[in-house]
């Protein structure tokens, strides 16, 4: 364990370098976060994830942006356990009717100013579940959505770029 610890401390980090200009927008956005996030909310953005009937694919990729490779927290993006503490609701799934009330209540419990991000095709347009008796179909039918991040599921990088873009806007 000691050797692995030392390696972790003194070796190169697993975290990927935030990519440089052109196609690699991460670093650029990271700088943007610094500016506008500081202006709006200090240096960080607190996020509450709400699964509104997802297949769990989106959750897996949202998890991934917290791993050592993407390390969302270096950009000041944090996931919080309570909606009372957050700035952003990150919603996945086609809003199953069984989750609609819980979603609305989570939104109501979130203090303003707040943003809603619909992550994944389900949240954006219902994906293969559109038209089901058991689903509302998309998040924007229930809550005002500020940003859509498409993908089934969206790649971690797309999620990250989307969340950062929200701050840059």
């Amino acid at each position: 364990m000691k050797s692995l610890m030392l390696q972790s401390i003194f070796g190169p980090p697993a975290t990927e370098k935030a990519p440089a200009p052109s196609g690699q927008a991460l670093e650029e956005l990271a700088r943007n976060v610094d500016k506008s996030a500081r202006r709006l909310l200090g240096r960080s953005l607190s996020i509450r994830e709400v699964d509104a009937g997802s297949c769990n694919g989106c959750e897996l990729e949202i998890h991934a942006i917290g791993n050592a490779i993407y390390d969302a927290s270096r950009f000041g993006l944090h996931f919080s356990a309570s909606p009372r503490h957050v700035d952003v609701l990150l919603v996945t799934g086609p809003v199953s009717r069984n989750m609609k009330v819980a979603l609305e209540r989570t939104w109501a419990a979130t203090p303003g100013p707040k943003w809603v991000v619909a992550a994944g095709d389900c949240a954006c347009n219902g994906c293969v579940f559109a038209g089901s008796y058991a689903c509302v179909g998309r998040v924007s039918d229930v809550l005002p959505v500020d940003l859509h991040i498409p993908g089934c599921p969206p790649r971690p990088k797309d999620l990250l770029c989307g969340l950062l873009a929200l701050l840059a806007a």
Binding site: S3, C55, N56, G57, A64, N67, S96, A102, Y133, P153
Partner: protein, 520 residues
């Protein structure tokens, strides 16, 4: 010898041949139409040397999938629903209770004698009742209400007993469900689960669709097991249509299935450590998981390999050079890093203190509920669909099953560690022996007759069962997908009994049951 005793001695298939009519449309495993007396007799045998593998309905019948471990017999039995009802299996075998509650919600067929008549998937928010039953006269209010207020949770009484309601929106980035803990001080005296929040109407959405389209829905039933679901659905279609997939397709499927198993086992092992506040391993295992997903992405163009398995074969080939190279790198790096992490897991006293003896599942319960996956195998149930009901290409691969008996969080972690090692070996074998050839076999479109197929596939969490009926035009008339979680969720309630509240996340994560796969 009484007739009862003679019957006990017969093999399952033998017994059903003598007491039922085999249905000609069914492929993949035999299906027998039986009478109510036989239905009840079989119900009485469940958990006593006969495993319940699934219980579902269609408009006219209820069906039960059975597995006899001794002879490795696998069969389906069907009973006609009469006067809107059928004799409850749940009355004889508790593992069937939630499945029957789901049948009541979706079809309106009453399970006569069912000890728990509360709705399960239907929370009263759908615009229709019994949504899978065309005959049922639609409309319910679809009222929006606070489910957790209205549901009649089982009462717990006693001095100082208090309730802790959790969910459906949980603290972490996980799926929604409600847990009602009744505690005496720190100790949990009862946990009651309330699920169904992610019900999306999967089975009805599939109806009337051609297999290729329905496969996209099957793939989205449970995202962490998308490969396993696609695999099971495709095999059920192929069984129904009597199509054999080309060998290369079968081997590619296994490659995907093993990568999916690796990714999930690695991620979950880290997450379990995290729930014991040991973030170091979480970070390291998280990197390994990411490596697997990236390799999958390079090989098949999708990190979770969604829609890569299609009825008839696979949608993507493995790029001969790039794919093989990436996989080689992945295996080498796993070889180098995995064992160091395992050693830390096994030698860190503070972590071991949390996982040992925590959340013990008794072998009797695991056997009785026919719990699949690592939940069953950590409690002595030697079932792995790759071995117990072998299918290509596993019938020509030497898979080793790891069974433990202690049934605690630690045993479930160890079963997973063994399976990670096993999957690394399997990926290597598959790479070296991958046959060349076609990727798909053509599926007949219009078959002019009703056909049925069934398949069981071992996902990372356990066995996924897919059963389907195709109509004369080759469209899905009925499809049932049974997640392994149906037989694991109820056991979590038993496992947490007597543990402290703070150990619930640990126990829960060591089970890692699916919400979406279960809720459908």
């Amino acid at each position: 010898m009484s007739t009862e005793q003679t019957r006990q001695k017969q093999g399952l298939i033998q017994l059903l041949r003598a007491n039922g009519q085999e249905q000609r449309a069914q492929r993949g495993a035999p299906r027998f139409r039986i009478d109510a007396a036989m239905w009840e007799e079989l119900g009485g045998r469940l958990g006593k040397g006969l495993d319940l593998m699934g219980l579902w309905a269609d408009a006219q019948d209820v069906h039960m999938a059975l597995f006899a471990p001794d002879e490795k017999d696998f069969a389906i039995v069907s009973l006609a629903v009469e006067d809107g009802a059928f004799p409850s299996i749940g009355a004889r075998h508790p593992a069937a209770i939630r499945l029957e509650r789901a049948i009541q919600d979706l079809y309106g067929h009453g399970a006569r004698g069912l000890p728990d008549g509360r709705p399960w998937l239907d929370h009263g928010a759908w615009p229709i009742r019994h949504p899978l039953n065309e005959k049922a006269d639609a409309a319910q209010s679809g009222e929006e209400k606070d489910e957790t207020q209205d549901y009649a949770f089982l009462p717990v009484e006693g001095e100082g007993v208090h309730e802790i309601p959790v969910g459906p929106v949980h603290a972490g980035i996980i799926e929604p469900g409600h847990f009602r803990f009744s505690c005496a001080g720190e100790t949990v005296v009862r946990l009651e689960e309330r699920l169904g929040y992610t019900h999306k109407g999967v089975e009805r959405l599939m109806q009337g669709k051609p297999p290729a389209e329905a496969a996209r829905i099957a793939a989205r039933t449970c995202g962490d097991s998308t490969v396993a679901y696609s695999f099971a659905f495709a095999r059920a279609c192929e069984a129904a249509l009597e199509v054999e997939v080309p060998p290369r397709a079968a081997w590619l499927r296994a490659l995907m299935a093993e990568l999916e198993r690796l990714a999930n086992h690695l991620g979950d092992t880290g997450a379990i450590c995290n729930d014991a506040a040991f973030a170091f391993l979480h970070a390291h295992f998280g990197v390994l998981r990411e490596d697997v997903l990236r390799a999958a992405d390079t090989c098949f163009g999708h990190r979770l390999m969604m829609d890569c398995i299609v009825p008839g074969g696979v949608a993507r080939d493995l790029d001969a050079e790039k794919g093989a190279h990436v996989l080689q790198l992945l295996l080498d790096s796993l070889d180098e890093r995995l064992e160091k992490l395992v050693e830390i897991y096994d030698t860190t006293a503070s972590l071991q203190d949390r996982v040992r003896n925590t959340g013990r599942l008794s072998p009797a319960l695991a056997q009785g509920f026919a719990a699949g996956g690592y939940v069953g195998r950590a409690s002595g149930r030697a079932f792995d669909a790759r071995l117990s009901l072998p299918y290509p290409p596993y019938d020509s691969l030497a898979v080793k099953m790891h069974v433990m008996h202690k049934g605690d969080v630690n045993a479930r972690v160890w079963v997973r560690i063994h399976e990670i090692r096993e999957s690394i070996g399997l990926v290597r074998t598959i790479m070296h022996n991958m046959p060349q050839g076609d990727l798909t076999a053509e599926l007949p479109g219009n078959t002019a007759q009703v056909r049925e197929g069934v398949a069981v596939v071992e996902g990372f969490r356990g066995d996924v069962l897919a059963w389907l009926r195709l109509d004369e035009e080759g469209l899905v008339a009925r499809c049932h997908l049974r997640d392994p979680s149906w037989f694991q969720w109820p056991l979590l309630e038993a496992v947490i009994y007597g543990n402290i509240v703070a150990d619930f996340p640990l126990c829960n994560k060591s089970f890692n049951c699916s919400y979406s796969g279960h809720d459908l």
